[in-house]
């Protein structure tokens, strides 16, 4: 049976893993290669590394970090942050990523999704969508896409953009609820379900993970194919294996033993 994936996410700045609440108050959480290996051995199904600095000068640092992290990692490894072109994606693949995640660049120039897919396969292209519920009669159906770390509206409806990303050749959608992100108060299940039911490709839920019950809910009610979390693992609140054991008790199919 196809299992629900638990994805450990590393937010990286200048080669170090950091964690903050809603993109502020960043604190050092360790070395990316070391943390990725630890998550993999404790049962993570996948690792995502997001470069949250992504300034031009630090691209070299990112590639070195990717190379070092990929070295001993034998599970799927996704890298995102600042990738704008198929050539930039190629450098990240060469460094050892299996998939790349693109966000603002895809909104600015949607054609880049197909360009990367044509060279590396659709399975290698994850389109990340940062969304916020709308201030309208139907806040979920009208949820809006944001860029620049959730500060700037992109002027797109999240569901419509997810559909377009799929038709342009995205292999997966990484959906982050900007309202839930960093709160540890639970995923936005309604928003996740609305996006997941609008596309045929897998949807990874992100933002708000705090407890095992949150994961159960986002798989069951949110129709998520995978769920991503960062801070709950970094600080030992739960490791992936403990989380999966809880999910299995709830009847969610997970990769165990792992």
């Amino acid at each position: 049976m196809l299992t629900k994936r638990i994805i450990a996410c590393l937010d990286v700045r200048a080669g170090r893993v950091v964690k903050g609440v809603q993109f502020v108050d960043l604190i050092d959480a360790g070395d990316p290669a070391e943390l990725a290996a630890r998550h993999a051995s404790s049962g993570a199904d996948e690792i995502v590394l997001l470069d949250i600095t992504a300034t031009h000068e630090q691209r070299g640092t990112l590639l070195e970090t990717v190379r070092r992290t990929a070295q001993r990692l034998f599970i799927p490894f996704t890298v995102g942050g600042g990738i704008r072109t198929a050539d930039e994606a190629a450098a990240v693949f060469d460094a050892g990523a299996d998939k790349i995640s693109i966000n603002s660049a895809a909104l600015t120039r949607p054609g880049v999704v197909g360009e990367i897919g044509a060279r590396f396969g659709a399975q290698a292209v994850v389109v990340a969508i940062d969304a916020r519920r709308a201030n309208s009669g139907d806040p979920v159906a009208d949820a809006q896409v944001y860029i620049a770390g959730g500060r700037k509206p992109a002027g797109r409806c999240a569901i419509e953009w997810a559909r377009e990303a799929e038709s342009r050749g995205a292999g997966e959608i990484l959906l982050t609820s900007m309202e839930a992100d960093g709160t540890r108060a639970g995923f936005d299940c309604e928003l996740t379900a609305a996006v997941s039911e609008s596309v045929q490709i897998p949807v990874i839920a992100s933002g708000g993970a705090g407890t095992a019950a949150h994961f159960t809910r986002v798989f069951r009610e949110g129709k998520a194919d995978a769920a991503l979390a960062a801070s709950i693992f970094h600080f030992g609140i739960a490791d992936v294996r403990a989380l999966k054991e809880d999910l299995q008790r709830d009847g969610i199919p997970v990769r165990l033993p792992c």
């Binding site: 049976m1 196809l2 299992t3 629900k4 994936r5 993999a40 199904d45 990929a70 070295q71 001993r72 034998f74 599970i75 799927p76 693949f93 060469d94 460094a95 050892g96 299996d98 590396f120 396969g121 659709a122 399975q123 290698a124 292999g171 997966e172 045929q200 490709i201 897998p202 194919d225 995978a226 990769r255 792992c258």
Partner: protein, 200 residues
């Protein structure tokens, strides 16, 4: 152990090469038919579209693989590399596969999300040499939209919409639909088993 990895410009070879290196293999990446013909063992990776296998025909690699296979040189096709062992795929009807196994590959039936992405379980036949030492029911990482039929050569079956071939073996011609280079310890065990097959 020397292993020849075929580069046919379909996706990214870094992960496969890295996994083989980590097992101590001496890896040669090539698109030269002569190097394929003289290989001790051959890996054909593959992510992406079946149409990419057209290049194997055009470059003469297909003939080189057929020649090596007839001499029982160990061959492992991964993902599209497994599908290519069959007659063809409805993904690119104009391209023919190696035809070492009968049947052809079809898209998953409607009803579930396609592509099939993630960790799914393997029902392993005990005679499998690739999966020796891997427990029945173990999970492997898949990402694909087309699947190969179950037949005599099938040594592991996975179910998604319908049962399909997750691993095949016919003599030393072998293939896996999942990505051993991305399937954690069981994937490394499989690659180690492949590297340790006696080469002729």
């Amino acid at each position: 152990m020397r292993v020849t990895v075929i580069d046919y410009r379909a996706g990214n070879l870094t992960s496969v090469v890295k996994a083989l290196h980590s097992l101590g293999a001496d890896v040669v990446v090539t698109e030269e038919p002569d190097l394929v013909r003289s290989a001790e063992r051959i890996v054909l990776p593959g992510v992406g579209h079946f149409a990419a296998t057209r290049r194997l025909e055009e470059t003469g690699i297909k003939a080189a693989v057929a020649d090596a296979a007839s001499r029982q040189i160990p061959f492992l096709g991964i993902c599209v590399g497994l599908q290519w062992l069959f007659g063809g795929s409805t993904e690119a009807p104009e391209c023919t596969g190696l035809g070492a196994l009968s049947g052809s590959c079809q898209r998953f039936a409607a009803g579930k999300k396609v592509p099939h992405v993630g960790w799914n379980s393997l029902s392993i036949r005990p005679e499998s040499r690739l999966l020796a030492g891997v427990d029945d029911g173990s999970f492997a990482y898949f990402t694909h939209s087309y699947r190969a039929p179950v037949g005599e050569a099938t040594v592991a079956v996975t179910d998604y919409c319908e049962p399909f071939s997750a691993a095949v073996e016919r003599g030393n011609v072998m293939g896996v639909q999942f990505h051993p280079e991305k399937s954690g310890e069981i994937g490394l065990t499989l690659l180690r088993n492949f590297l340790e097959l006696p080469s002729c």
